[in-house]
Symmetry: C2
Subunit: 189 residues, 2 copies
């Protein structure tokens, strides 16, 4: 029993599996599934997506230097997988997945109506790392589905949205709440 050593690999899990939307007009709006994404700074709020330059969406992002990150749910698992396997060069991904575009607030790229949260972004810097370019971006605004906002408290419950996680080739639902931030140091009453 113990640890065995393997060659380098990409094993930071669980990862999100977001749908990145891009394009400047309804005719060229596209989506792309991205698991290599995350927050890189709290203040200012910044995130990254790492994308292979040969992907159909890559020049669409670069044309406007804008994109939108749409969080994905259990109900979107099939569409998310499909959009990651197929190319917008060959298919109208909106038609094929049944997902619904809606205009952005501060960017030309659309949000996905079925997503509980869309994060509108402007590209700040692109780093060529190898297979992937890391696209670093400022978060311009968040667009939250009001279905998950408690009208009495204003609290936004992403848990109720049924977010999905990606782990080493598998899409998983989220299970039980194990604790909230700081629970390990809270006094018992």
């Amino acid at each position: 029993m113990g640890k065995v050593t393997w060659k380098p690999g990409t094993m930071v899990y669980p990862a999100p599996a977001v749908l990145v939307t891009c394009g400047s007009t309804p005719a060229d709006w596209n989506m792309l599934t991205v698991a290599w994404t995350g927050t890189i700074c709290t203040n200012p709020a910044m995130l990254y997506i790492s994308v292979r330059p040969e992907r159909h969406s890559y020049p669409l992002i670069m044309a406007n230097m804008e994109f939108t990150v749409n969080l994905t749910t259990e109900a979107m698992a099939r569409a998310t997988d499909w959009a990651g396997v197929r190319s917008g060069k060959d298919y109208d991904k909106w038609k094929e997945t049944g997902l619904t575009p809606e205009p952005g607030e501060m960017v030309k790229s659309p949000a996905i109506a079925e997503s509980p949260l869309a994060i509108e972004c402007r590209v700040k810097e692109v780093l060529h790392l190898g297979s992937h370019d890391m696209i670093m971006a400022d978060v311009l605004c968040l667009r939250a589905d009001d279905r998950y906002i408690d009208p009495s408290t204003g609290a936004f419950s992403l848990k109720d949205a049924g977010l999905m996680a990606y782990v080493h080739g598998g899409y998983y639902s989220l299970g039980e709440l194990l604790g909230t931030f700081g629970f390990s140091v809270k006094k018992h009453r």
Copy 2:
């Protein structure tokens, strides 16, 4: 019903909540909880961690330009939360959490014995973004707990390790498998 617009925020979820270990000798080995982490390139395998420079672990990472990312599980939820709230300046985090350090293979920083997978990293570049520095690193090797390796097939099952996800202030277990990569285009037989 629809989307409401909010000011920028850090909402790329679910995120991992990894334990980053650092330091060069058993006396200064420390750990730090990081949710702002992810894969940034597949080939070469690279990841990032974003850390506030004022954290106790920051100079420990910079001293050797090495660190280890340890994936976390449901069983590690309390320790992971605790290591994120408390500082190694004030506590011996190993003693307080009960987690067990073991020597690294290619780095001076330790792995956590209780973690199913340790990712040994060498710092490549540091970007000062604001509240957080983004530390980009090459993955040197993976160290996998053989408890999760099927002896007959050699397959590594992170699912069996009970990985934990972090969503907007909450730690969650993973739930059911919704599908595997490519399931949306597989022919039904």
